[in-house]
Structure formats: structure tokens, C-alpha cells
């Protein structure tokens, strides 16, 4: 019995902003299914009342004093940019509302 369907893989691939060819999707579905099958073993563990680990080593919250450092040189900010106009990054036009998800 499959843990993950081809459709779910396609959905997740889109969510992660990847694109795979149909054979790649089939292969991915098989591989992920095998891994999820293995992971099923966790179901047997009784975790009633167990809190999820948020951090392995207990720490007091580190806080930073509210003092502004000098910003980096704007030229340096875009130095690695594949495309920039002056100090702004440039991307293909975004349709307003084509946000999120």
C-alpha cells in the first residue's frame, strides 16, 4: 500500500518550487514511498505525554542589545546578484497578488 501518491508528490514538488519530469516524479514517488515505509516503525513508539524536543541543550534566551551596526556597502549587497539595477535586485515581473504558498 502506497504511503504517498504520485499526485501528492507532484503537489509537494510544486510547493518546494522544483520541477521534475514524469519519469523523475515516478522515481521520486517510489523512493519516498520506500523511505516512508521504513519510517512507519515510529508509529509503534508510545509518545503519549512526551513533549517534542525543541532544543537539545537547555539555554536561556540569548538577546542582542538594540544597537544598529553600519549596514554593508550596497555594492557588496548586490555583488553576487545574477541581475541587479543599481543596488536593487531584479526579478521577472511579479503579478500583484501572486504571493505566497
Amino acid at each position: 500500500m502506497a504511503h504517498i501518491t504520485r499526485g501528492e508528490v507532484e503537489h509537494v514538488v510544486a510547493l518546494a518550487r522544483l520541477s521534475l519530469t514524469p519519469p523523475e516524479i515516478d522515481r521520486m514517488a517510489r523512493e519516498i514511498d520506500a523511505i516512508l515505509d521504513y519510517v512507519e516503525t515510529l508509529r509503534a513508539v508510545d509518545t503519549t505525554g512526551v513533549s517534542p524536543t525543541s532544543h537539545v541543550i537547555p539555554l536561556a534566551t540569548p538577546l542582542r542589545e538594540d544597537r544598529a551596526d553600519d549596514p554593508i556597502d550596497p555594492e557588496l549587497a548586490v555583488a553576487n546578484a545574477p541581475e541587479h539595477e543599481g543596488s536593487a535586485f531584479v526579478v521577472p515581473a511579479v503579478i500583484e497578488g501572486e504571493e505566497e504558498g
Binding site: L59, T61, D66, P74, F89, V94
Partner: protein, 491 residues
């Protein structure tokens, strides 16, 4: 605006406000928080989400969040968790926003929103307040970027925000605006946020749905985004209510959607249908540990809270005393209230100081498009000006004329009076002589007065004032004229 559709249906509104915190640096990075800079002039590797960077929480942002939570009567949670909200957008450099999800810093709370004169305030409950970082800006305007591109500016990315979510307790667009004004006032009072919608540091999204009167279930709601002024909030809500009412009247369903408001047409339109709930895959941020604030720290912040607007207003009414109307106006802004109290400390007559502020100072501010914070006029200077009038050293009229300049440029009222020759003429002898000259020059008018036309007094007063270039004390002149005209001392 009385809209028939609003009476058929009950309007249910909830508001989400994003308020930028007044910090020097960003929430998780030491980059400066600045307004109006060219793109990417105010960034740090953390803001750019470069490989290998890590977030560290700003202490002051935490304190301001606690302050806001206490001022709105929320429960502050000793432990809260930062979570990643995952989505892709060019102005979100990490591909996730650090926010708070299941465990926010504060929940519960309320704001008492003033209603029409005489009505009791309406309590709007708050669901929660949490901390999160702002995204950068995408610049779409083709005039700037051309037709095929979007520019990305990350100056704003990482700026600390409070998200303040209300319960859907608001029942009209007007009340929504009143709620926003109240919230803005509170945040300014406690110096947590400048709350200036025009500068974008106080942003509002509104959720609105309709239901039949008496129905308890909530109708399907739509979300209005990018409302950048109170006027727009009200207009957008009204437009959307009308649209939803129209659908429901026809027996059609309202679809869940994100809407945009077009001020040109006065209508709302669908930006995005919310068929799929967005899957943000929230999980606790593993680069941060839970935020723990102690009961002692919360208490310390509580002690440091200033007197808030409603308490101050009640005190003004009681102590000075002032009318409810004047008290409310003066306490709308903490800076204005402090100004008033400092001026009264220097002058003593609260009613007089209130009048001068509400009438003359506020008008001058409005004309010069200034807020009280920017006024050069000091409370001490205002007190001094009023004392000059009280002592008859200048006339009220001359003094009032000085206010705009004092507000814009400041200065010493006494020096100004002297330099401009605005000293009141109060020398009785001179006044008597001037009155006599006027009476002598206007015989027919004097006769008319004495035959019963009391209105002629004003004309004769005007003549005297003119001869003294307006510097005579009007009440002294009136007294002298009256006594001459009515024969206390007939000439």
C-alpha cells in the same frame, strides 16, 4: 452612511494590524531600521539570507512587545516560540518568515473603542499579539522598473513587527476606523510604534463577513489587504459589504478570497481565491530557542508603563478641571497632554491654557502640517505668552497672532512683543486722550449712541483701536469709552 444592506445583515469585522516597533535595529539582525533609503542601503548579510547566517533576537523588541501586550490588557506568556512560516516570494529572502504561531507572546486582551457622544465605549477583544519580522519591498511600478521586471529592496526585510489580531467583534466600517484610531493612540502613548499609516509602519488587513440578523454562525469572510489609510479602510469595507450583500441578496454564496480595493472605482475585486488554504508548513525555528520572559521582567515593564489615555482623560476632567470634550482632545496624544500639563505648571489657569492650545496652537499646527512633536513652541513659552496677556503687556489679539510663528520657529514671546512693538497701550492717560480725540471727531455718532443706538460703541471702539494700531487693551478702552459716553464724566 446609512446603507440599507447593512440593516438587513449583521456586519462582522475582524482586523489584523501590523505595527512596526520603534527599535534602532532589526528583529534578528543588527542592520539599522531606516526609512526612505535607496534600495539595499540598510542591510546586513542576515537580511540578505546569505548562506551561513543566523538570527539573534533584539532585546528591545521583546520589551516593546510586552509593553504593548500589557497596555491592551493581554496575558503575557512566559514562554513563547518563534516559528518559521514557509513560502516563496522575492521580498522574503530566506524563503520563510520568522514569526510566532502556536505559542505567541500574548493572547487575550481588549480595547475599549469610543462610540458616538454619550454612548458607552464598545469593547473589542484581542485574540493575540505576536512578534514577527517584516518582508522587504517589491517594486512593480513600470514607470520605475520597466514592463518586464520587478525590483527587490530588502531594507525593510527583518524590521520588527507586532501583529495584533482582533476578534471579529467590530460591527461597522466606522467602528473599524475608531478601533484603529484607538489602537494607534495606545501604541503611540507607550512609544512602541510611530503608527503612521502613510509611512507604512502601521498596516491593516481587514476580514469581513455578513450574516442575517440574529444568526450566530459566521458567514464566509473575505480579506482586504493593502489598506493604507483610515479613509481607505472605511471605504474598502463599505464597498466589500455592499458587494457581499448584493451576492447574498441574489441567493449566491460569498467565496473566500483575498480582495483589493480600487479607490478610483470605489469597488473591491478578487486578487486571489482561497481555494487552497495556504500551506505554510509552520515549525519551531531551530536556529532560535524559546523566548522566556520572567514574571519579574513583565512586572518591571508594567511598572514602567505611562498613564494611558483613558486614565489621563479622566484625571484631566477631575483635577484641573476640564470639560469631557476638552479633556479628550488634549489626551488624544501623550505629547500633547504632556505639553498641556507643562504649560499649566507654568501658567496656572488650566481652562485658559486649554483654550489657547485647542484653539490657537492646534490650528497653527494644522495650517503648517505639523504634529505637536515637531512644534518649536515650548510649554514654557506658551505659559509666558499667556502671562503677558494677563498682565496687560500685550493684547490677546497680538498674542494670538504670534502663535503660528512660535509654533514654527520658536522664540521668546517677551522679546518678540518688544521687537515688533506689540506692547499693549495700557497707559490710562494716553487711552483717555485717544478716546477723547475719537469722541471729539465723531460727534454725530456719539449723539446716536446717546440716543439709544448702543451698537455704535463697536464703531467707536474700532476708531480707538485704529489710532492705537490695535495695541490698546480693548476692555480698558471699552470701559473708558463707556464712562465718557454715558456721562460718568461728561465732556
Amino acid at each position: 452612511m446609512s446603507d440599507p444592506s447593512q440593516s438587513r445583515y449583521e456586519v462582522v469585522i475582524g482586523l489584523e494590524v501590523h505595527a512596526q516597533l520603534r527599535t534602532e535595529s532589526k528583529l534578528f539582525s543588527p542592520a539599522p531600521v531606516r526609512y526612505g533609503e535607496p534600495p539595499n542601503h540598510s542591510v546586513h548579510p542576515i537580511c540578505l539570507a546569505l548562506p551561513g547566517v543566523l538570527p539573534v533576537l533584539n532585546a528591545r523588541a521583546v520589551e516593546l512587545a510586552i509593553r504593548a501586550a500589557l497596555a491592551t490588557h493581554c496575558s503575557v506568556h512566559e514562554q513563547s516560540v518563534f516559528a518559521r512560516k514557509n513560502y516563496f516570494y522575492p521580498d522574503l529572502p530566506k524563503g520563510y518568515q520568522i514569526s510566532q504561531y502556536e505559542d505567541p507572546i500574548a493572547t487575550g486582551g481588549w480595547l475599549d473603542v469610543p462610540q458616538e457622544e454619550g454612548a458607552a465605549p464598545h469593547r473589542v477583544r484581542l485574540t493575540r499579539i505576536h512578534m514577527e519580522e517584516d518582508a522587504g519591498k517589491s517594486i512593480h511600478d513600470p514607470a520605475i522598473v520597466g514592463s518586464d521586471a520587478t525590483w527587490v529592496d530588502l531594507n525593510r526585510a527583518g524590521v520588527p513587527l507586532l501583529e495584533i489580531v482582533s476578534e471579529p467583534d467590530i460591527r461597522s466600517p466606522a467602528e473599524a476606523v475608531a478601533y484603529l484610531r484607538t489602537l494607534r493612540s495606545v501604541l503611540r502613548y507607550i512609544e512602541v510604534c510611530d503608527a503612521d499609516m502613510e509611512r507604512g509602519n502601521f498596516r491593516c488587513d481587514a476580514n469581513v463577513s455578513l450574516r442575517r440578523q440574529g444568526e450566530t454562525r459566521l458567514g464566509t469572510r473575505t480579506e482586504l489587504k493593502n489598506l493604507n489609510s483610515f479613509r481607505f479602510v472605511e471605504a474598502a469595507l463599505e464597498a466589500e459589504i455592499e458587494r457581499q450583500a448584493g451576492l447574498l441578496d441574489e441567493g449566491r454564496a460569498v467565496e473566500q478570497a483575498t480582495m483589493a480595493f480600487d479607490p478610483a472605482t470605489g469597488r473591491t475585486r478578487v486578487l486571489r481565491l482561497k481555494e487552497d488554504a495556504d500551506d505554510y508548513r509552520y515549525f519551531p525555528d531551530p536556529d532560535l530557542v524559546p523566548l522566556v520572559v520572567s514574571a519579574e521582567q513583565i512586572e518591571r515593564v508594567r511598572q514602567s508603563l505611562p498613564e494611558l489615555a483613558d486614565a489621563k482623560c479622566a484625571r484631566f476632567e477631575r483635577e484641573y478641571p476640564l470639560s469631557a470634550h476638552d479633556a479628550r482632545q488634549l489626551t488624544e496624544s501623550r505629547v500633547l497632554a504632556d505639553f498641556f500639563e507643562a504649560a499649566v505648571a507654568g501658567h496656572g489657569d488650566a481652562k485658559s491654557v486649554a483654550n489657547w492650545i485647542l484653539r490657537d496652537v492646534l490650528r497653527a499646527l494644522k495650517e503648517q502640517d505639523l504634529e505637536i512633536e515637531a512644534a518649536a513652541l515650548t510649554p514654557e513659552a506658551l505659559a509666558k505668552l499667556l502671562r503677558l496677556v494677563d498682565e496687560g503687556k500685550t493684547t490677546a489679539k497680538s498674542a494670538r497672532a504670534l502663535v503660528p510663528e512660535l509654533v514654527l520657529r520658536g522664540g521668546d514671546p517677551e522679546a518678540m512683543v518688544r521687537e515688533r512693538g506689540l506692547e499693549a497701550v495700557s497707559d490710562t492717560g494716553l487711552l483717555e486722550r485717544t478716546v477723547d480725540e475719537v469722541i471729539a471727531a465723531h460727534g454725530p455718532d456719539v449723539r446716536r449712541y446717546r440716543s439709544g443706538e448702543k451698537k455704535v460703541m463697536n464703531f467707536l471702539m474700532g476708531r480707538v483701536m485704529q489710532r492705537t494700531q490695535g495695541k490698546a487693551d480693548p476692555s480698558a478702552v471699552r470701559e473708558i469709552l463707556r464712562s465718557r459716553l454715558e456721562g460718568d464724566d461728561p465732556r
